[in-house]
């Protein structure tokens, strides 16, 4: 099997899985219990929190465990805006956010917030002029992805931050779900206010995630109850998930540069091939994140290609997994003004730390074969 759908989800690292199972076997206690076993479990939870804080260069109490990326984005964007209602009701969200960001924006429109959507250019990058035009003194929250999940564009966060900081006191949330482990992600390299991460995108486990802030910021809990996670996220803390997340982050962080360099070379091979192919238009821009290559193939739908590749045990996707069951076209490609005749034939190849040169060689050969067959059938 050649798995090239790592932006949808990744295979958990075996050592991460080991830690996860070990905690489930031995330290399954409730970290809120005051007895010795609860205390021991709590210390484990806190050490995972401490490791994550250190990796992201912030304080321990700024790390809040969640059930994943979607919860993270919902929590930070919506609950920060709610908490800052007295300052203003204006929020900015980019047009190419993950569906979690888009849907939260729509919901907030319904709830009486003023939501402006940031335009992107043909490479999927935020138009800085548009941001300058839309930012207000009273904007309370701005939410932007670090790396786009459908085509891999890296957003110009430094430039965006300069504009945001000099024109407002908005809290800046960055969805770093796709970038962690591929690009440097911490508060030194990205001086934003909130980061959202999801474990299963970097060889951790599903149902684990974290939101982290650079300094204490007011927001209301999204899930209320026992008051765990500093009162910001109730529910018995799944310590095994927290430990697995910290471990997956440590591994991803350790290997980040190596992963980046390796994937960049593989990406270049894919781009060289695709850019010379007469039927293929490359949608992933230059200087994108190294693990994603998205292309449009003329005369064939993405589904047909996904299915044809699958027969050779090669797994890619059409756009994002979260929207691939939807009938409508991709909101990201629409925002980039990708012509309609291209949108149907889009496939995304997304690599992971275990992707090899041989995988890419086999993929390219198979892709070529499939396209030749399709052409023959058409003639």
């Amino acid at each position: 099997m050649i798995y090239l759908d790592n932006s949808a989800t990744t295979k958990p690292d075996s050592s991460v899985l080991d830690s996860f199972v070990k905690v489930n076997e031995s330290l399954w206690f409730n970290p809120a219990s005051i007895h010795a076993l609860g205390d021991q479990t709590n210390r484990l939870l806190e050490s995972a929190r401490g490791q994550i804080a250190e990796l992201l260069k912030t304080q321990t109490k700024s790390v809040i465990f969640t059930s994943g990326g979607t919860e993270g984005t919902n929590f930070v964007v919506r609950q920060t805006a709610k908490a800052r209602k007295s300052i203003g009701k204006h929020i900015l969200i980019s047009k190419v956010e993950h569906p979690a960001g888009i849907e939260v924006g729509k919901l907030m429109l319904d709830e009486g917030f003023e939501v402006d959507w940031l335009e992107v250019d043909s490479t999927g990058a935020i138009q800085l002029e548009d941001l300058k035009k839309k930012i207000r003194r009273t904007t309370t929250v701005v939410s932007i992805q670090h790396v786009n999940n459908e085509i891999g564009t890296i957003q110009p966060l430094q430039e965006c931050l300069e504009i945001i900081r000099s024109n407002s006191r908005a809290i800046v949330h960055v969805d770093a779900v796709q970038s962690y482990g591929k690009l440097p992600v911490d508060f030194d390299s990205l001086p934003v206010d909130w980061l959202t991460l999801s474990g299963h995108k970097f060889h951790g486990i599903k149902g684990s995630g974290v939101v982290v802030c650079s300094k204490a910021i007011d927001l209301e809990a999204l899930i209320v109850g026992g008051g765990q996670e500093f009162g910001l996220r109730s529910g018995t803390a799944p310590v095994a998930q927290a430990v697995a997340l910290a471990k997956a982050m440590r591994l991803a962080h350790q290997d980040q540069q190596v992963t980046h360099d390796k994937l960049s070379l593989l990406q270049q091979r894919l781009l060289d091939f695709f850019s010379h192919h007469p039927l293929v238009t490359v949608l992933t821009p230059k200087n994108a994140a190294p693990h994603i290559v998205t292309v449009a193939v003329k005369g064939v739908t993405g589904e047909v290609l996904v299915n044809a590749l699958e027969k050779h045990e090669i797994y890619v996707s059409t756009s994002s997994a979260c929207s691939s069951k939807k009938k409508s076209t991709s909101h990201v490609l629409e925002a980039m003004n990708v012509p309609n005749e291209l949108i149907d034939g889009v496939i995304r190849i997304s690599m992971g730390k275990d992707t090899t040169e041989q995988d890419i060689t086999t993929f390219l050969k198979t892709f070529d074969l499939i396209l030749r067959q399709l052409e023959r059938n058409l003639q």
């Binding site: 399954w28 007895h35 010795a36 979690a100 899930i223 109850g225 996707s317 691939s324």
Partner: protein, 383 residues
């Protein structure tokens, strides 16, 4: 020292077969259930099967099961989701004074947002009577949320009868069955509830997963928005191995429901008999109510709970003052306050012991002896 864990209502050990199911699911299938290729499809299949098995445990349809990150999220989704979705029909909500904080704090949040909440009182046994519900019910009531089995004192409410009161009323009926699920037989059709919350880690499953049963036609507004997972009721990539493990834990419980119930009853009786035999002075809280067999809340007159728990801890016994979620600060239990009033001696001197499948008679004999020993120490330590 072999510790004796008597805090299964706080959380329970993960069953070895559940761990095996968890590991197997992770190694055989790591795909994203929304992906259209084979890896995604096999993930989808595992997810569908887990959902079917979970639905079967409460006689529900698989589409009526919304997987969540646990009992708290399920309770929040039920209370907040039903309130927001039905606001056009009214703003009155009824719940009780003995709910878990996941329901209570959600209700308090709704109060801040302009909803009106009635907190039903309970008897000294922790029971909600049909009359109090009838009296509280109004034309503009949109949600009634009453816990199935209480997590602190174990009192079981007659949910079927209470839900019957609102049968012909517009209101949605929710029950938090986190403690009852896996111990009592639950048939959502006989019960007549619209929403019912559960959690895996209370029934020897993993933490971080639970479900909300949502009767077809019951309106909810989601808490998390994004992808179209869970039929647009709960966005976020599904944690399939956790769902598979939850289904496994639920199956194990379901297969031995009666036997487990009887075992828990006999363990509890044994524990009480041993304490009596050793001459310990105690009273069982909510004694004459129908109770969850795995929860045993005891009042030890003239003792101080904090000191008592520390002494028990040192003696190797893990017990709790109430729910673990509030255990960090030993505030008086809101459940005991509701049952006995603000000034009752029970508030300062009650301990919850809760049992599970790993609990043995020998452990309970030893625990009773240790408790007797701790209580025999000079009364001065209780000051």
């Amino acid at each position: 020292m072999n510790r004796i864990y008597l805090d299964h209502a706080a959380t329970s050990p993960v069953h070895p077969d559940v761990i095996a199911a968890l590991t197997e699911s992770y190694t055989t299938c790591f795909g994203n259930a929304s992906s259209i290729h084979e890896t995604g499809r096999s993930a989808r299949k595992q997810l569908d099967q887990a959902r079917e098995r979970l639905a079967a445990t409460i006689q529900a349809h698989p589409n009526e099961i919304i997987l969540t990150s646990g009992g708290t999220e399920a309770d929040n989704l039920a209370v907040l989701g039903a309130a927001y979705a039905n606001r056009h029909l009214g703003t009155h909500i009824i719940t009780t004074s003995i709910e878990h904080h996941a329901v209570l704090h959600a209700a308090m949040q709704l109060e801040k947002e302009g909803f009106e909440v009635t907190y039903l009182p309970v008897t000294e046994e922790g029971l909600i009577t049909v009359e109090t519900l009838k009296n509280a019910l109004r034309e503009d009531t949109i949600l009634v949320s009453i816990m199935f089995g209480n997590n602190e004192v174990g009192t079981i409410q007659n949910i079927q009868e209470l839900a019957g009161v609102v049968k012909d009323h517009q209101t949605v009926f929710h029950t938090d069955a986190v403690q009852a699920y896996g111990t009592l037989e639950i048939n959502v059709n006989e019960l007549g509830v619209d929403l019912l919350s559960t959690s895996a880690h209370k029934i020897n499953g993993p933490k971080g997963i639970g479900f909300l049963y949502q009767r077809a036609g019951t309106k909810l507004r989601p808490l998390a928005h994004g992808g179209q997972q869970e039929r647009k009721r709960r966005a976020g990539t599904e944690a399939i191995p956790l769902a598979v493990a939850f289904a496994k834990a639920a199956d194990i419980k379901q297969q031995s429901l009666r036997k487990h119930h009887l075992t828990m009853l006999s363990l509890k009786q044994h524990f009480l008999d041993e304490l009596t035999r050793l001459g310990v002075t105690f009273e069982e809280n909510a004694k004459s109510a129908e109770q969850l067999p795995h929860i045993c809340n005891l009042f030890f007159p003239q003792t101080d709970i904090e000191t008592l728990l520390i002494q028990l801890d040192l003696a190797g016994i893990d017990a709790s003052s109430g729910s673990a979620c509030t255990a960090g600060a030993v505030d008086p239990s809101h459940v005991l306050v509701a049952m006995f009033g603000e000034q009752a001696p029970q508030l300062r001197s009650s301990v919850r012991f809760s049992f599970g499948y790993t609990t043995t008679k020998e452990q309970l004999t030893e625990a009773a002896e240790k408790i007797a020993g701790v209580l025999a120490t000079p009364a001065s330590i209780w000051k």
